[in-house]
């Protein structure tokens, strides 16, 4: 099998799956089984792609290109570097987990599970596409196309305020997309000025990046930047995220925060640093300020949330601050840390979302204050809630520590002040995670969501009684199977992150070369 067909296959397979699942939508059982089947096949394909990828090899690999709109030099061109590859692997890993978690999803009246899962598979195609595109126009198309399934997933399958949230999500994204479109076209126009013939081909645009005038760079970069800053929400462009994440079904929230938003941070690297090196450096101080504000602001707001899903969303805003800090601190450690953070955040926040979803599935409320002392009833769920939380607060030994440590230790030589302020975020992360755990899981059994279930709101019920225990049961076998791979990655990548770092680092150093920045700390032995 030629490795060139891997990426087209990765794009096509979920789409085929989506059609099949949509056709089977009248039978929940068949629909979800086939959805799971397709998503697992996609995961296998992703593993093949990982094996076919040579970490020390060419800048872009598994490439393939077909002419699409020859008049404008648009190609359907695909390819990955190490950064895109780990993101595609993350997608392929998370989608089956999400499908497993949505197995018995309670959907609004009149909606079918098949329709829901079909849209998830459509979204998978577009998400893979956005990371695999190596043509700027194709990237833009996927970037906008992702909106459509996401919009419907929130707007049709979400919580009570879903239409409002979906619209807000749509408006923000569309606004960012339109501004980016202007830049995409601008890039084409300026490339025509330099080369005589315009191109959207990313690799060619990188080559001419130094020929652009600083002003042109600045304005073109700004267009991309706004779109990315909305996606990977930097304060103050973040307010769509808590609404969307809160109203979206849990599985959609996982993909939204875990993957979709990473397009923004991915874009900073692929379409910011590489295409507009000077402008990136020029705007770096602004981004660093926003990043550090995001870390603290997101953390305080996460601490103050009364809604569990909004809580997860705000923790993500703090985490996105760390990612942005690492990228714009311009060292191989900090940027590799950020890329690894993008993966780890998908895993740990994904897990946190799922665990919170499992709590809500039992108590039926999103409010923290409706719960308390739940670990007594559901010790396993309590333990896994804590594992997800500890990963979120980057405890050493978990995956997130490696990435957060790399971001901070790598940012420090260039940006000591920002790094030290960001380090305060470590304490705040512990604060919001442990407060959430304490409220939901610790103390005596309390809260209307739990106590109310057995005997009406507020009634004093004996938590030892059988009726009570049967209402609030610990994790089912299915839920355990859904969470187990996440736990394995949380610990596995915490202890041995080297295989992933080895894939990421060469692409990061290549990006730094394109951006014209060098490491502040170089190896003492001088052997690279």
């Amino acid at each position: 099998m030629s490795s060139a067909i891997l990426l087209p296959a990765l794009l096509l397979l979920p789409l085929v799956g989506a059609v099949v699942v949509a056709l089977l939508r009248n039978n929940d059982r068949l629909a979800r089984l086939s959805a799971l089947g397709f998503s697992l096949a996609e995961l296998v394909l992703a593993v093949f792609a990982w094996i076919a990828f040579d970490a020390g090899g060419a800048r872009l690999q598994l490439t393939t290109s077909v002419e699409w709109i020859p008049q404008f030099g648009v190609n359907f061109a695909l390819g990955v570097d190490g950064i895109a590859l780990v993101m595609i692997a993350l997608i392929a890993f998370l989608v089956p987990v999400v499908i497993g978690a949505s197995w018995e999803e309670k959907l609004p009246e009149g909606r079918t599970l098949g329709g829901f899962l079909s849209l998830i598979l459509v979204m998978e195609t577009f998400m893979v596409g956005v990371f695999a595109a190596t043509d700027v126009f194709l990237f833009y198309v996927f970037f906008e196309a992702m909106l459509i399934p996401a919009y419907f997933l929130i707007g049709r399958f979400g919580g009570p305020r879903r239409t409002y949230a979906a619209m807000k999500f749509f408006l923000y994204s569309l606004l960012g997309g339109l501004i980016m479109l202007a830049s995409v076209i601008g890039v084409y126009v300026t490339s025509a000025d330099v080369l005589g013939k315009g191109t959207f081909e990313w690799a060619k645009l990188v080559e001419i990046s130094k020929d652009l005038s600083p002003t042109a760079q600045f304005w073109l970069f700004l267009g991309f930047f706004v779109a990315f800053a909305i996606k990977a929400p930097l304060v103050p462009l973040h307010t769509w995220l808590p609404d969307s994440a809160a109203e979206a079904p849990v599985g959609v929230g996982v993909l939204l925060v875990g993957v979709l938003d990473k397009v923004g941070t991915f874009g900073f690297l692929r379409y910011g640093l590489s295409l507009f090196p000077e402008a990136s450096k020029q705007l770096a101080p602004l981004v660093l300020v926003l990043a550090v504000i995001g870390i603290l602001y997101g953390a305080f707001l996460a601490f103050g949330q009364s809604d569990m899903k909004r809580f997860v969303a705000f923790t993500s805003i703090a985490h996105f601050g760390f990612i942005a800090l690492g990228i714009f601190a311009f060292s191989s450690q900090s940027i590799s840390g950020s890329v690894l953070y993008m993966v780890n955040h998908g895993i740990s926040t994904g897990m946190l979302f799922l665990v919170v979803g499992m709590v809500m599935a039992r108590g039926g409320s999103r409010k923290f204050s409706d719960y308390g002392g739940m670990a007594k009833l559901t010790p396993v769920l309590g333990g896994l809630f804590l594992v997800a939380g500890l990963s979120s607060l980057a405890l050493p030994g978990t995956n997130s520590f490696v990435s957060e440590f790399l971001v901070l230790v790598g940012s420090f030589p260039n940006e000591p002040v920002f790094t030290i302020i960001a380090s305060v975020g470590m304490v705040l992360a512990a604060l919001y995670v442990l407060r959430a755990y304490q409220q939901v899981m610790q103390g005596p059994v309390r809260g209307t969501a739990l106590v109310g279930l057995a005997g009406g709101p507020g009634s004093a019920t004996d938590p030892e009684s059988e009726t009570f225990k049967s209402k609030i049961a610990d994790l089912s076998r299915r839920e355990l199977i859904v969470l187990a791979p996440l736990v394995a990655l949380v610990i596995g990548l915490g202890v041995y992150p080297k295989p992933v770092l080895d894939v990421i680092t060469p692409s990061v150093t290549a990006t730094m070369t394109e951006a014209g920045v060098t490491d502040p700390v170089v190896s003492q032995e001088g052997n690279k």
Binding site: Y172, L181, T239, L395, G397, F412, S423, R435, K498
Partner: protein
């Protein structure tokens, strides 16, 4: 004082023979924890046995390792085992390896030795708890993490163990997590530790930025290349880390609250091992502290201040375990003071750490035994006259008590006296201030410990007329063998450890490859020979005062704590340190959170959404989305954007 003193860092060799399997030390307890957690209720019946076996096996291996090392020349006693590359990105190469040297092996023996005793004790102590298996899983997790802390060969592996023990401590303090106070105390411990951890993290950042490495070997070899300012910064940041973990001022307030955890936890984690990690950190980093007299001075000041704070507050509390907790704060203050003296004190700090490990663990286990027999009562005002009821507990506790107050020729006498002597050995005002603080602390220690002794074991049996919180009568009784045997073993340590370790400089010579030669001051502010006399005299005075107030026949100790004068009230209120934290940190944080919530909902969202609405074609967009226009709007906007694209392309290329 030879402030230019520089220890030649010992050569680091590759480990051979049995030492190559040192990873077993870490893997055994972690495996135990994993098995117990994953197997769930299935392992309820044998979980405690497996957990204990894992730690005892680690202790056995540790002993074998120790004997294999004492067969080597002192120059060959610093060895490393490299395991795998942990975090490699370009210049940063964090390797996961183990450093086996006299310092780490000493800690291995302390952790697994005392750890084994406390595992055994817990079998009995936790026998009625339905989650005993989980308790042993967490204890195993703690031992594994603590061993990573002391065995790791870089500051990052140390950090891994550092936060790992923090997690274990969190889990164990909140072991009875249905109690809100336990949950709150655990959270507080974790948070205050994380504040300290920032210091440790920043120290690591500084090392990487300036030396390009975080491995001990390279950092210590090249510490001399650092500028004075950077060395001082690293030293202070490491100290901040040490303050968090070891309950030193200003991060001491979590430790007394941590007594919410089951008593074996207090003995193992919050007295004998984890809380001494800060002392380990500073001693381990001796090549850095050797370079910065200013840094060492700050360490000494923190130690002296904390030892006094701990003593003063310890005099006022009525909770058995909290008095012991403040005593721990204070004794670790002594250790920090000692390692702050640099080459004059590193080994003395470790020495006191070891003897303290014995007698304080023993004192806590004794306290646990008393509370076990007293329906979990912790208020010493409700005790009294228990010596006859619990003879073994009384005798073992009494030996620990004598060791702690520095009764001649018991453990504490050797280790604490040496520190007081070294403190007086400093020149000028330092000698007077640090020596004086340490001496005064010894008197206060004798006072609060004697008060504890008298209120618990002597005098009127105040519990006879009372009922416990759950309405039962008190019927104090001696504890089962699984509990008393560990207490007896520790009592032996309390009596003999000091003499054995200090005799002929046994411990300090053994530690020389790790810590450099122990220096002794030529002249101090007062003659050497006078110090032990002064210490014993003042300690006796402290004990006497306690007897006068609490011990005489005519004294009746009230069961309710009486109103008191201002200094006592201040001490009862933790010298207002908690209130200060509240005002300086907690309240502002809550205020900030509330402010941000308002800003986010009203301000940021409002402005951005307003702008978006205007751009989206009129202010009513969002209102209309609620009423069914969603799709038409969305489609029209998508259509609009397609038009924009088309228009732009046409304009340019038509």
């Amino acid at each position: 004082m030879t402030s230019t003193y520089l220890a030649e860092p010992a050569k680091v060799l590759a480990a051979q023979g049995i030492a190559q399997y040192a990873w077993l030390l870490i893997v055994l307890p972690l495996l135990g924890a994993a098995i117990l957690l994953i197997s769930g209720r299935r392992s309820d019946r044998w979980g405690h046995l497996l957990g204990s076996a894992m730690v005892i096996a680690a202790f056995g291996y540790g002993l074998a390792l120790f004997f294999s090392v004492i067969g080597l020349d002192p120059e060959q006693r610093v060895r490393e085992v490299s395991l795998f590359s942990w975090i490699p990105v370009e210049a940063l190469k964090v390797d996961f390896g183990l450093r086996l040297d006299p310092l780490s092996i000493t800690f291995v023996l302390l952790i697994t030795g005392v750890g084994s005793l406390i595992h055994i004790y817990s079998i009995g102590y936790m026998s009625h708890d339905e989650n005993r298996r989980k308790f042993f899983a967490y204890l195993n997790l703690f031992v594994g993490a603590m061993l990573i802390l002391v065995l790791g060969n870089s500051f990052v592996t140390l950090y891994l163990g550092w936060e790992g023990v923090g997690l274990a401590s969190y889990l164990l303090i909140s072991f009875w997590q249905h109690k809100p106070s336990a949950a709150e105390a655990a959270k507080k411990a974790f948070l205050m530790n994380r504040v300290g951890d920032i210091g440790l993290a920043v120290a690591i950042f500084l090392m990487f930025a300036n030396l390009g490495t975080t491995q001990y070997t390279e950092v210590f070899e090249r510490a001399g290349e650092l500028s004075g300012g950077v060395v001082l910064a690293i030293a202070l940041m490491l100290l901040l880390g040490a303050c968090g973990k070891s309950g030193q001022f200003p991060l001491q307030a979590w430790l007394p609250d941590a007594m919410e955890g089951p008593t074996p936890v207090s003995a193992l984690i919050h007295a004998a091992t984890m809380v001494t990690a800060g002392v380990y950190l500073i001693a381990r980093s001796n090549p850095i502290y050797d370079l910065t007299p200013d840094g060492r001075l700050v360490v000494t000041i923190i130690g002296a201040l904390t030892l006094l704070i701990g003593c003063v507050i310890g005099c006022a509390y009525d909770d058995f375990k909290k008095v012991l907790a403040y005593s721990t704060v204070s004794q670790i203050g002594y250790m920090i003071l000692a390692v702050g003296l640099g080459p004059f004190g590193y080994a003395l700090g470790i020495m006191h750490l070891l003897t303290h490990g014995f007698f304080k663990a023993g004192l806590f286990l004794g306290a646990g035994s008393v509370m076990h027999g007293m329906n979990d009562e912790g208020n010493i005002r409700r005790m009294g006259g228990l010596a006859r009821k619990m003879p073994i507990t009384f005798v073992t506790w009494g030996l620990g008590y004598l060791a702690l107050i520095g009764f001649p020729f018991l453990s504490g006498y050797y280790s604490k006296d040496a520190i007081i002597e070294a403190a007086f050995g400093q020149e000028g005002w330092r000698g007077w201030v640090f020596g004086g603080a340490a001496l005064f602390g010894a008197a206060l220690t004798a006072f609060y410990m004697t008060r504890l002794m008298l209120l618990v074991f002597f005098g009127e049996k105040r519990w006879e007329k009372l009922k416990s919180a759950d309405g039962r009568d008190y019927s104090p009784h001696e504890s089962p063998k699984s509990m008393t045997v560990p207490m007896i073993v520790l009592a032996f340590g309390s009596v003999f450890a000091g003499f054995l370790l200090s005799n002929g400089g046994l411990l300090s010579n053994w530690l020389t490859p790790s810590l450099g030669t122990l220096e002794t001051a030529e002249h101090g502010v007062i003659p050497h020979a006078l110090v032990p006399l002064l210490t014993v005299a003042l300690s006796a005075l402290g004990a006497l005062v306690a007897w006068v107030i609490f011990g005489r026949k005519s004294v009746r100790v009230p069961v309710e704590r009486p109103a008191a004068s201002w200094p006592v009230r201040a001490a009862r209120a933790d010298l207002y340190t908690n209130a200060l934290n509240d005002w300086l940190v907690v309240k502002p944080s809550l205020l900030l959170t509330r402010a941000f919530l308002v800003v986010d909902n009203k301000g940021v969202d409002g402005i951005v959404m307003g702008t978006a609405s205007v751009l989206g074609g009129g202010s009513g967009v969002l209102r209309r989305t609620q009423t069914g226009f969603v799709r038409s709007y969305a489609l029209s906007m998508l259509g609009g954007s397609v038009l924009v694209i088309a228009a732009m392309l046409v304009v340019r290329f038509a």
